[in-house]
Structure formats: structure tokens, C-alpha cells
Symmetry: C2
Subunit: 330 residues, 2 copies
């Protein structure tokens, strides 16, 4: 079977590819487990080289229908659609966000529909679909009134996934991922970038700026939970999802202050002291517009994984850094 990951060169895409290759199989369109023979990583940038013969990298613009058609061919049975313009950038460049987050998603669904083989598609949505006047812990039954362009675009993606699924064109699943923490690498244009930066930079001996109030609450999942959730979402039987194809992925709810306190517990006072509180009104407003906690009961009942607490998420990051360094030393 052939699997395509859009955004395959990105942080989640590469980790997902690694996890799928290790696992070796996925449910095909017939529901039976089949060996992954081809894993295509589609992205605007090339992924790091990989010596697994199953992996093929395609560099191209996912908003270009011919790139999608050529990449998927007619034999793709599984798609993980992770490619997206992140929140801060979608707010700064409305047209780019619409082009990638909405138009490319629709074109991807159209290519799948034209192929007629009803592939399974896992689409990464976001907690940013929630906004406006919200209860303290929004549920899947809560109306979406996003107050960012990113949130609107992801909400439109969910609606498309739902209707293309209902019409029998694809078998889609949309995951409202919490903010992922701790991401490795450098800060990005997501409004939530600080939620990794306040741990990552201090552990790396650098100062980190926390642009939100200490009391600002965020909804987080670790990279490992996010990847396991993507795979769980793929595996789950369509009948278990029913007509509700958008799922609130489990997370943990912490304040920015909690995060820095956890960093002090796990890595010491000196490390935590490298966090500087300097409010950025634009980011604080976006973050406070997103829910700091979600009702994730359905996902937990459906067997989605959940993190234990933020201390464990910091340790997960420290372990991953250590293993990267060990590999580099070998």
C-alpha cells in the first residue's frame, strides 16, 4: 500500500514517517492491515535524506493540483494531511493561509475523490477552531466561532472532511491537536511557538521570552502523544466515529506559569531563570482566544493517548535531545 504524508518534511511529518516505517503496516481501504510499500513525503522543502527504500520525497506546492495528482497517483490508500500555514503566518498573510489551509485541502480531497478508491485521510485541525464566547472547557458539542484566520481555515477543512466522508468520497478524520510541546528546533511563526521555546531555549543555555501572562492557560500535547494520536485516528473503525469526524485530541491544561515551574522542578532554578516575561499583546490575545482546556472525553474513550503532566513532557524532550546527541556522537 501507498501512504502519503503532506508536510512530510516538517517536524510532525518526519516523526510520523519514522513511526509508520517502524510499524510497517496500516489498514488498507478494505480495513485489513497491509504492508506499507511506499511512503511519500510531500512538502515544499526536501526532507532529510532517508535510506529506507520505501520512502520517496516529493518537493512541490500542495496548492498545485497537478502536484497532488502526480504525488497521489491512483493507488494511494492512506493520506496524512499535515501541511499547513501556521497561525501567526495565516493571520499575517490571509491569502497564503486560504491557499494552503483551505484550497489545498479541498484539492487534495478532490484528487482522492477522482481516484474513486475512498482513501483514509487524517487531517490535522487545531484547538484554534474554538473562539469567541466560550465555556471554560469547550466540548465537541460547542459551536466553533474562531477569531483567527487560521482557526476559520481549519474549521472549513473539518467541514470539508466531514462532507467528503459523508458523500463516500474519502474516509476522513479531523484531529483538533493541542499545541505541541516541546518541539525541537527553532521558534516558528505559530502564536503558540513560545509553548516550546520557554523550555527548549533555557535547556539549551539560551534566554527565552514568554510573550503571555503567567496566568495564560494553554492546552498541550507532547510530540509522542500527537504522533500516537495521528496513528490512532487512522486506525479507528469508521463506525466508532459515527457522523462526528472532528475529534478533540487529549491534552493537558497548564498555565505559562505552571510550565516554567515544571521546568524549574525538572531542570533546576538556573535553567528556569532563563525565561524572561515580556508580554506581546498580539500573541497574548491570540492565545487567550483559544481554549486553555478542552473536553477530550470522547477521544480518551476512543483510545487516544494522553500525556501525564508537563514535567513528563519536558523529560520526553530532554530524552529526545540526548538520543539525538548520542546518535551524533556515534
Amino acid at each position: 500500500m501507498k501512504v502519503v504524508i503532506t508536510g512530510g518534511a516538517g517536524f510532525l511529518g518526519r516523526r510520523l514517517a519514522h513511526a509508520l516505517l517502524e510499524r510497517g503496516t496500516l489498514a488498507g481501504t478494505d480495513g485489513r492491515q497491509s504492508a506499507i510499500r511506499e511512503l511519500v513525503l510531500l512538502d515544499v522543502v526536501a526532507p532529510p535524506a532517508c535510506d529506507d527504500s520505501r520512502v520517496r520525497a516529493v518537493t512541490g506546492d500542495i496548492a498545485n493540483p497537478s502536484v497532488l495528482r502526480e504525488t497521489l497517483g491512483t493507488n494511494t490508500s492512506s493520506v496524512f494531511h499535515l501541511a499547513a500555514i501556521v497561525s501567526g503566518m495565516a493571520e499575517a498573510d490571509f491569502d497564503l493561509g486560504m491557499r494552503i489551509n483551505v484550497d489545498a485541502t479541498r484539492q487534495l480531497l478532490e484528487v482522492c475523490r477522482a481516484n474513486g478508491n475512498r482513501p483514509r485521510i487524517v487531517f490535522t485541525s487545531s484547538i484554534a477552531v474554538y473562539g469567541g464566547e466560550l465555556p471554560p472547557v469547550p466540548a465537541e458539542e460547542t459551536a466553533l466561532n474562531p477569531q483567527t484566520s487560521y482557526g476559520i481555515q481549519k474549521a472549513i477543512g473539518e467541514l470539508l472532511i466531514t462532507d467528503y466522508t459523508r458523500k463516500g468520497f474519502v474516509d476522513g478524520r479531523a484531529l483538533r491537536l493541542p499545541t505541541i510541546s516541546v518541539r525541537p528546533g527553532r521558534p516558528n511563526a505559530a502564536a503558540s511557538s513560545f509553548a516550546s521555546g520557554v523550555v527548549r531555549e533555557p535547556l539549551n543555555g539560551e534566554e527565552a521570552i514568554c510573550p503571555v501572562n503567567p496566568g495564560t492557560r494553554v492546552w498541550l500535547a507532547s510530540p509522542k502523544s500527537a504522533i500516537d494520536s495521528l496513528i490512532r485516528a487512522y486506525d479507528i473503525d469508521a463506525a466508532e466515529l459515527g457522523v462526528r469526524r472532528a475529534v478533540n485530541v487529549p491534552g493537558i491544561s497548564v498555565t505559562a506559569g505552571d510550565m516554567v515551574a515544571a521546568l524549574e522542578r525538572v531542570a533546576g532554578r538556573e535553567v528556569a531563570a532563563r525565561v524572561r516575561w515580556e508580554k506581546d499583546a498580539r500573541i497574548d490575545r491570540m492565545m487567550n482566544g483559544w481554549p486553555g482546556a478542552l473536553d477530550d472525553a470522547r477521544a480518551r474513550a476512543l483510545g487516544f493517548p494522553a500525556d501525564e503532566n508537563f514535567d513528563a513532557m519536558i523529560r520526553q524532550y530532554m530524552d529526545s535531545i540526548r538520543s539525538v546527541r548520542l546518535q551524533a556522537d556515534e
Copy 2:
């Protein structure tokens, strides 16, 4: 000031045009009442001839951006966007529904954005945005999980209206109109067409087929209430709407059985006996997927009009027919 009505040759469009011409003024982009100097009716078919010098008819495809650009020019301050593919047709022809209900709405918003004058736009959404597992009386806080392509397309339209408004490109208002009853004329491809047919055809001496169970509950508004709601939605101060730009328009909740009983009360047993109950599974399923009642408290508090009961709605129709006949006799 220049006002554009898309779908201006349709039933609601023509009535709205008539009401606006009678009224003579609308709030401009500065919020002050100005005289309507030009009223453009844009539709795929020509509207009936009109000898009011303020009215101009444009026949064209609203999914064609150049038609929209030419029709709006750069001086349109007010748009009523009524043009749509109705529910039954959007379900039968998915691509046509996407093209008109989604793409044309977005292109209209893009033309307004390019003009830079932040026009007021009233967009007709629908109760069909609700679907899936619903509480008995869904509220504006209830999640949208439409189970029809029409519903998905209208929900996407609402999201676009909300974000183009938040970004300051337009000043939009989305109205979730109940099913309109009693519409004059002939049946159309809307799944809810029967909600007018079971009154209209018997009053006209013809048999009407009711394709749903007598217990199927529908959410209705009269043509007069719908038009008054469109104008109220236009008039309302943006600050009163806040960040929630989609409004549940007031309606009345009746079963198909209630409707026929009302017809008997208002027009007699012989007329009501012309209704034949013959279930159409496809229509019954669509109608039962939509809410039979909505929480319309916000709209009522915002001064939206409401009908009294179905008997009065039948009488409103009988009066309108009588006045059309009187005019024809003159």
C-alpha cells in the same frame, strides 16, 4: 448609495427589492441613512420588468468573478447575498453547490475586500447548518455538524463572513433562515419545498404530496418575517452583534400534521383533504436531520421579527394571492 441583491430575481430577492424601494434608505458604510440611488438585481435569470428608475437588472453567473466585479463596481456599500443552490440540488450536484454556495460567496467577499470600502453584507444561511447528534432545541452555542452538502456549504459561508468581518474587509451578518412558508409559485428542488406545497397546492385546488411523517417537526418563518429579518440584520449596529455574526432567525416550530390541521382550520376540510401523505425517504431523512426548533432568543432580543403561528402564515399567503389577483384584474 448603491445596493446589490444577488439572487435578485428569486422569490426573496424580488420581495426584498420591493421592500427596500418602498423604504428608500439604508445605512451607508458610515452608518448614516442614505437614499438608495441604485438597486442592482443580479441573478442567472432576468427578474420581471420593473419601471422604478433606481432598479437595474444584471443577468450573469455569480461564480464568475468578472460578473461580480462589474456588477459591484467600486461604489457598492450594501450587499444582500441571497443567491444559492437549494438543499436538494446541492445534494444531487455536489460540484454545483460548492461552486455557487462556497466559491461565489468567497469571490463576492474578495471583490468587496478589493474595493476597500467595507460594505455591509447580509448573507442568507440556513437551519441546515445544524445536523448530526443535536439537542432538542439547538442554540447558537451548539456545534455545527451538518449532514447535507447544502448545510456544509452554508456553514463555510458563515465562517467566511465571520473572518472577512473580523479582518475588516466587510461588515457581514449571516442569517440562519428557517424554512420559508408559504412560498408562492411552483415546487422547487429544496428538500423543504413541501412546507409550502402542502398549503399552496390545496388552496389552488390541486393535490399536494406531503413526503414526511405527520410527526416530522419543521422550523418555519413567513416570507414577510424573512424579508423583515434581512432588513433588521442589515440595520443592526455591528457592536450589538459582537463577534458572533451568525444569527438564528426567529421561527415557529410545527409538525407536518400541525400544518395540515392549521390549513383545515383556516381554509376548511375540503381544502385540507387535498394533502396526500406519501413518504419520500430521502426528503424525510433530510428534514429530520435539520432541527425542528431553534433557540432564537438572541435574535428576538436584537429586534428580529417573529411570526405568531402557522394559521397567520397561511392567512398571509392567502392575502398575498388575493392582492396579486386584484392587481391582475385592475
